[in-house]
């Protein structure tokens, strides 16, 4: 039964790391709570749907339905992160300008907050559907007795608690160091999702070149370790990336950094 608790714990913790990145990166947005919860709600609903259809999905598109759905969700998330990076810069410039000129605060548009909800939802989809699949699978094979539900409950609760501690720990001890870099954090997270698109392209045989691993740094930090898991989920650390994954990562990083820079310059010119 302990093994069930461990699997659940790990999945919840992974979600927590991703949520921490997203929440830290959007720290500057005011009145965002409602939209965070909306995102979680959509994410949970989406996870259930995705889990229900995974069996059918697997056989679609020559056996690569899972990868295609992953690519779609990831592309959407990368697109939304690019969008968020741009407008967050805009808003902060507008914000400081407004405070300077009129002393009034500017409300961030709800349109942008919906993007935050969708971003959170897309982050929950994939790990969330794994939890649903795992639990429903275990239900058919194990006796669903008291200890079964207890281990699922304890695994979930401890995963969330650990994740919450992680988040609060960073807020309390590290926020002052990373506050000015939060948009960089979001950009790195976006780049990591982009490299996962590459991984899925190779895994689904859509792409055949640059598919060999470039190096192996698992002797330094293994993706199997806690640090490796945190770095993988937060900024896309990969101990043996393929050339394609690295290219996607670097290109996305460059594009997003220039988007950020460009939107800043645009506003300076408008002044």
């Amino acid at each position: 039964m302990l093994s069930i608790a461990i699997v659940i714990f790990r999945e919840f913790f992974e979600i927590s790391i991703i949520m921490t990145v997203l929440l830290l990166a959007t720290e500057k947005i005011k009145k965002r709570q409602k939209y965070i919860w909306l995102g979680i709600l959509i994410g949970v609903a989406g996870s259930l749907l995705l889990a229900i259809f995974t069996n059918k999905l697997t056989d679609l598109a020559g056996g690569y339905g899972q990868e295609i759905v992953n690519i779609m969700i990831l592309s959407l998330a990368v697109f939304m992160i690019g969008w968020t990076v741009m407008w967050m810069k805009n808003e902060s410039v507008k914000f400081s300008k407004a405070v300077f000129e009129t002393g009034k605060m500017i409300e961030v548009g709800n349109k942008h907050k919906i993007i935050l909800s969708l971003l959170i939802a897309s982050a929950i989809f994939r790990e969330g559907s794994e939890i649903v699949l795992f639990v429903s699978g275990a239900l058919t094979s194990e006796k669903p007795d008291f200890s079964f539900f207890t281990s699922i409950f304890l695994g979930g609760i401890s995963g969330l608690a650990f994740g919450l501690l992680f988040y609060l720990g960073i807020i309390k001890f590290a926020l002052k160091y990373i506050f000015s870099f939060t948009s960089l954090l979001l950009i790195l997270f976006g780049s990591s999702l982009s490299s996962q698109i590459a991984k899925n392209l190779i895994q689904a045989d859509f792409c055949t070149i640059l598919s060999a691993p470039l190096w192996d740094s698992s002797w330094l930090i293994s993706n199997n370790s806690v640090i490796g898991q945190i770095l993988y989920n937060a900024i896309g650390y990969n101990a043996h990336p393929s050339g394609l994954e690295l290219s996607f990562y670097v290109v996305t990083l460059a594009v997003m950094l220039s988007l950020k820079r460009w939107s800043l310059v645009e506003h300076k010119n408008m002044r």
Partner: protein, 107 residues
């Protein structure tokens, strides 16, 4: 971003097979991989067919191969990876990690 991805697919996706492909097969039975060890050749792209004979869902996962994919109960999946350098590459079933362990030996 989509345009860039599209261009990438355009450039890399249709550039043909650079390396030969080798097809391998394993079965999941009673939350174990059968066989637990398979041998593959280095320098080839490998298509691994994983057939799940258990009614329960499994997740094929490998840190060494950088792959993860859900295997439905009584279903099967294909996972593509490589070309690989000679060595041992471990994989496991994430949902039954205690028993579902296997490795690919690349020569």
């Amino acid at each position: 971003m989509k345009i860039i991805i599209f261009l990438f697919v355009l450039v890399f996706g249709f550039s043909g097979n650079a390396a030969e492909e080798e097809v391998l097969q394993i079965v999941i039975e009673n939350h174990r991989f059968v066989p637990e060890e398979i041998v593959a050749s280095s320098g080839k792209r490998i298509k691994l067919v994983v057939i799940n004979k258990d009614p329960t869902v499994e997740e094929f996962e490998s840190f060494d191969l950088n792959r993860e994919k859900i295997v439905p109960g009584n279903g099967q999946i294909k996972v593509i990876f490589g070309p690989l350098k000679p060595g041992v590459y471990k994989f496991f079933g994430e949902f039954h990690e205690k028993t579902a362990q296997g490795k690919i030996i690349v020569r």
